[in-house]
């Protein structure tokens, strides 16, 4: 079975497991955890295009999550909008926020951009605290739930899982086509991206705005899941968590980061000493990956598989087929 088929097979298995989860989950807590993972993935799946594919080191996405969450809480709660409408509006709002943030900062070099995103996350925190009338300040806001059939834990799980599946499908489409290749070119060789005609800033911006919309929708679902949000919910370390999931899972893939989210969310729950270490553990893991396997843990599996089933790369001399080349060039115009 080719690696591509193996990956699709694994993805299909995961999808099946995810779709039937409420039936085999051991308790409500596990269902809640699965819903949380799904909500995170709605954001992280979108962020994956920015960080994993375009290579833009955005470490401030918790700010967009916050805007999405508060947007939903205010629109569905205080303004009384139907939750579906509130989610859509929240997504749009965050998309616009992504545009406003991305326009000036995506032209900056790597470190500058990372600092700009971190600053925005801190700014959103400041604004949320300062605008107490709207956001409840330090006390926070209650968040309304969704109407039936999504008001039960299983129902809400399926709603969130559907959103997660949608984001997966959208990003998978982009990743495997020309647009995805363009993003990877921006990440690995900007000079090449320019040489083949990729509009570098425009492509980065599109991915960034898309990740904003995903953050808005993910934030709304996250808020509804929490049912009460405070500024403390959106601490900077959450941004780091999103980022680390992608890097550890492996840039340039979708399955890897998804497994990253699952493992990094579930691990502190299952292994309680790790929960105490919390963010130290994420930092350590990130450092280990960067030093040892910068392409992410997914790549480790590929390398191990290659080691176990070695296919010697035969050195075949380059032998042009000039008539075939001429034929290909004839369809030039």
């Amino acid at each position: 079975m080719s690696p591509e088929h193996r990956r699709l097979g694994l993805a299909a298995l995961l999808a099946l497991g995810a779709a039937t989860l409420p039936f085999w989950a051991a308790d409500q807590y596990q269902l809640h955890l699965a819903t949380l993972i799904a909500a995170y993935w709605v954001l992280i799946g979108g962020l994956n295009l920015v960080v994993g594919y375009a290579g833009q080191l955005s470490i401030g996405h918790v700010g967009l999550l916050s805007i999405g969450a508060y947007g939903f809480a205010i629109l569905a709660g205080k303004a009384g909008l139907h939750p579906a409408l509130a989610v859509a509006a929240s997504g749009a709002l965050c998309g616009i926020a992504g545009l406003l943030l991305g326009l000036p900062s995506l032209r900056l070099p790597g470190f500058y951009f990372a600092m700009a995103t971190m600053a925005v996350a801190l700014i959103v925190g400041e604004v949320v605290l300062a605008q107490g009338e709207l956001t409840g300040g330090g006390v926070g806001l209650p968040v309304p739930g969704f109407p039936a059939p999504f008001d039960s834990p299983a129902g809400f799980y399926w709603l969130t899982a559907a959103a997660a599946a949608a984001v997966t499908w959208l990003t998978w489409n982009v990743a495997r086509r020309m647009q995805g290749r363009g993003l990877i070119a921006i990440r690995d060789s900007v000079v090449t991206a320019q040489a083949v005609g990729v509009p570098v800033l425009g492509a980065k911006l599109r991915a960034f705005v898309f990740s904003g919309v995903c953050a808005g929708v993910g934030g709304s679902l996250f808020a509804a899941l929490q049912s009460y949000i405070t500024p403390d919910t959106f601490h900077f370390e959450l941004s780091l968590f999103f980022f680390v999931c992608i890097i550890i899972g492996g840039r340039g893939g979708i399955l890897g980061p998804f497994l990253g989210v699952v493992v990094l969310t579930a691990l502190p729950e299952l292994v309680s000493p790790l929960a105490k270490l919390g963010n130290f553990f994420y930092g350590l893991l990130l450092l280990a990956v960067v030093l040892v396997v910068p392409e992410g843990i997914g790549r480790v599996f590929e390398l191990v598989a290659a080691r176990l089933k070695p296919r010697p790369v035969e050195s075949v001399p380059v032998q042009p087929d000039l008539p075939r080349l001429a034929r290909a060039l004839r369809s030039n115009r």
Partner: protein, 262 residues
């Protein structure tokens, strides 16, 4: 090149540098150099290190703007045109040190070169609309043909970071060709190639010539240049010292003095 660009530029148009000068701080890298690259012609560009060859190539492809002088494609002035616009107008290039995307396969790297023809945008692609898949399929089959054509048919599925040096060079050429260029600018493509591989390269250049593509060949291998080129320009210290047929240039006393060391 893209249909819109093809409409804008006449078929027989040349890519020209007209009396271009390029300064970097206090250094004049190029001083009043002119060069005309005609379709269906292989034009060699030789000169010692520091003579300005790569600077001229970068000016033609759009990575630098000239301090003085003009760059034009037919009647279309290009000095202010960014690199991406020149790619859409059908100007492709390779690099002195091959620049590949290491995590993608040889085939995918080549398909990237077809970007100027991809009309499907981000949203269209994300929602799985058919045009994106269609364009991808067309790019895939064309890239496959081009790769077989340059001699990399055995390595289509190989990750690009596992390629040997010669394979990397030929991959860059295939990638440039995937953009349906009118002109291909090659930056020392023979660097590090064996004699056999250089012969293969010569064959490929001949095929490009017959297909009506204008090729700029920046090279150190002067024998190779004189063998395969229709015209040659020789630079030294940023100035053009001779332009003409290979025979004319190779026997020019100034060229002999500066470059061939006699």
């Amino acid at each position: 090149m893209s249909p819109a660009a093809a409409a804008a530029v006449q078929p027989g148009a040349s890519l020209r540098a007209v009396a271009v000068t390029r300064r970097f701080g206090g250094i004049t890298a190029l001083d009043g150099v002119s060069l005309e690259l005609r379709p269906g012609e292989v034009h060699g560009l030789i000169g010692p290190n520091g003579s300005g060859k790569t600077t001229l190539l970068n000016l033609l492809s759009g990575y630098y703007e000239p301090s003085e002088g003009a760059i034009a494609l037919g009647n279309e002035p290009l000095e202010r045109a960014p690199v991406q616009r020149r790619a859409r107008l059908g100007i492709g290039r390779t690099f002195q040190k091959p620049r590949l995307l290491p995590t993608l396969t040889v085939l995918e790297n080549t398909m990237l070169g077809a970007w100027p023809h991809a009309r499907a945008g981000f949203v269209e692609t994300a929602f799985g609309l058919p045009r994106a898949a269609r364009e991808d399929q067309a790019a895939r089959s064309r890239a496959t043909e081009l790769l077989h054509g340059v001699g990399l048919g055995h390595a289509l599925a190989r990750r690009a970071n596992l390629l040997e040096h010669a394979e990397q060079r030929f991959l860059e050429i295939a990638r440039a060709l995937a953009g349906r260029p009118r002109f291909v600018l090659l930056d020392e493509p023979a660097g590090g190639l064996s004699t056999d591989e250089i012969d293969h390269l010569g064959g490929i250049l001949g095929t490009l010539r017959e297909a009506g593509i204008g090729v700029l060949l920046v090279e150190h291998h002067t024998d190779f240049v004189f063998r395969v080129c229709d015209r040659v320009t020789a630079l030294d210290l940023g100035r053009m010292i001779r332009e003409g047929t290979p025979a004319e240039v190779r026997h020019d006393p100034e060229v002999i003095r500066v470059y061939l060391g006699a």
